[in-house]
Symmetry: C2
Subunit: 333 residues, 2 copies
């Protein structure tokens, strides 16, 4: 007969209830006790029967993380940080890539998969507001700028203020012909709208008229193409705020190809602080969200909703995370 | 009463068996039929009871993908491609980040989580050979260079030949003071050993003596530091083969910082063909593995092992995927 909870408890010298707490990933087990139970589990080769356990407890020990795309370095970094934070609670993270498609995001919140997961950390791209209400009641934490005062706990930076900081950095350098790359027209493109609002507010303060370049998506190729259009359609700007780092890296590529210098002729700043920008030539100035804090808060909030904390049933909470301006070669002399 | 299989079948005008095939993600359902069933599922709000289904069928519809780190663009790209390939079979992919730690890889293959997954696609970093045998019998497909003729189906490029191609490209440019960045001493660093073997074989053919720089890991910062050491310790090389693109991007950053030109003074080639290298300045020459093919084969092989194909029970198979040399600015005049 395969070993059971009782055998693990006997070997670890703890109660069956304690073994159960460890197996179910509850956090209120002392680290030393948890280690002893895990050693016993490994020594005996004990395997919890997940299906039976799920039927009994209603908890699978699995949470889902849904992001638009893993190929985006920012989301890959957030995903890695959330996996690490969840690991501390012995949670397994199922990562879902929505490609920002409304239908796949809708399936997600409609709970078609809720049977397999205890909770969801979700960075939506296509849906907003009440569309995000999870009918099944599965606990959810939202990331990103799309929803304030929505149906669930929400962790984000102040996107408009951060964009204003980036733009103000460019005006503070004495640049006057300032362009934005990353404008998107569709109403659901909230990130782009907020970053544009921050850009416009600072230009209005400074009495400047900015140029604005549209993009289809936020990848390097979009930034490269948008920069080429700006150069083809008039006098080159002397500074560009790109709505993420990938756009900025693409824009810099085009500028250097055209024989312009960065930052001499054109200063460029991005947004996200992905690692690429720390080793590019020139290195990339950017806005750095506090990504480790975002990941930790997302996991902690979800844990509270799952009953491990005081706020299991309260109203949705809004948590704002800090950002900072990082000045590197692409905007400094 | 919530809608059941029967209600979905009636609405879609198909048999209960067909609905069951769709829900279980079997591939031998005609696309039009599948679409009709899915429309009925959505219209009725039918939710399969996963726990009960798993107990009954022994299949959860979930596979695991274990990669060393999502923050590595190469693994993020592979993960995204595998999620897409699995989506075609209605599989959910649980992504596990092992950080290349032997203990976490061992837990994985020991099947501590096998209760929740039907199969595993695994790119190991720490384990090799028989250590990778999955005791639980969970079907597994291995990726990467660590295991040939191991205990499971295996998909990889010919790593040593690809490295020889990269090095031969440098000698064909007339470069003679050639260095490698990415050497690792520990026996488990199979990727590094194979890439070094390819490098050495071509230098031996050409009667050249190469310099070899060690790294702790394969990140940009390691490449930057290794390049600095090569420059500090002797005459600059006139060409460098870096064992991945991140190392190469770090190395180029150091070269440009020191006032050397790329490729004028030093030609640089990487390995992986990540997107970063297509927009860096200079753009990065590299070896491109056929990543979409790797992802598709991994999913297809796993599906066969899961009984959707003819080879459900056969001996482990070795599939070699093509690679190609991509010449960009970092090695061309």
């Amino acid at each position: 007969m395969p070993p059971g909870l009782k055998d693990v408890a006997a070997r670890a010298g703890v109660s069956i209830k304690t073994v159960s707490n460890v197996v179910n990933g509850y956090v209120h087990v002392a680290p030393a006790t948890r280690a002893r139970v895990q050693a016993a589990i490994e020594a005996l080769g004990y395997v919890p029967n997940m299906a039976a356990r799920q039927l009994r407890s209603g908890r699978s020990g699995v949470i889902a993380l849904a992001v638009p795309e893993l190929q985006s370095p920012y989301f890959a970094e957030i995903a890695g940080l959330i996996v690490q934070a969840a690991e501390q609670r012995s949670w397994t993270v199922l990562i879902d890539q929505t490609d920002g498609q409304a239908e796949r995001e809708r399936n997600l919140v409609a709970g078609l998969r809720r049977h397999a997961i205890d909770g969801l950390i979700f960075s939506p791209l296509a849906l907003a507001g009440e569309e995000l209400a999870v009918e099944s009641g599965t606990p959810m934490v939202l990331l990103g700028e799309r929803v304030w005062h929505g149906p669930a706990d929400h962790v984000a930076i102040d996107n408009t203020a951060a964009s204003a900081d980036a733009t103000r950095h460019l005006t503070s350098l004495g640049r006057r012909r300032i362009a934005a790359i990353g404008v998107q027209d569709r109403p659901s493109a909230v990130t782009a709208h907020q970053r544009l609002a921050g850009f416009r507010s600072v230009l209005a303060e400074a009495g400047l008229q900015g140029r604005e370049a549209r993009v289809e998506s936020f990848h390097r190729a979009d930034g490269a193409a948008a920069m080429a259009r700006l150069l083809d359609e008039g006098e080159p700007p002397d500074a560009v705020f790109c709505f993420n780092d990938l756009l900025a890296l693409g824009a810099i590529r085009t500028l250097l190809e055209r024989g312009l210098s960065v930052p001499g002729d054109v200063a460029v700043i991005g947004f996200d602080d992905i690692e690429d920008g720390r080793f590019s030539t020139p290195t990339l100035s950017t806005i750095a969200p506090d990504a480790p804090r975002i990941a930790q808060l997302a996991v902690d909030l979800l844990a509270e909703r799952l009953g491990d904390g005081p706020a299991a049933g309260g109203a949705p909470r809004e948590l704002r995370v800090d950002h900072r301006l990082v000045v590197r070669e692409s905007t400094s002399a």
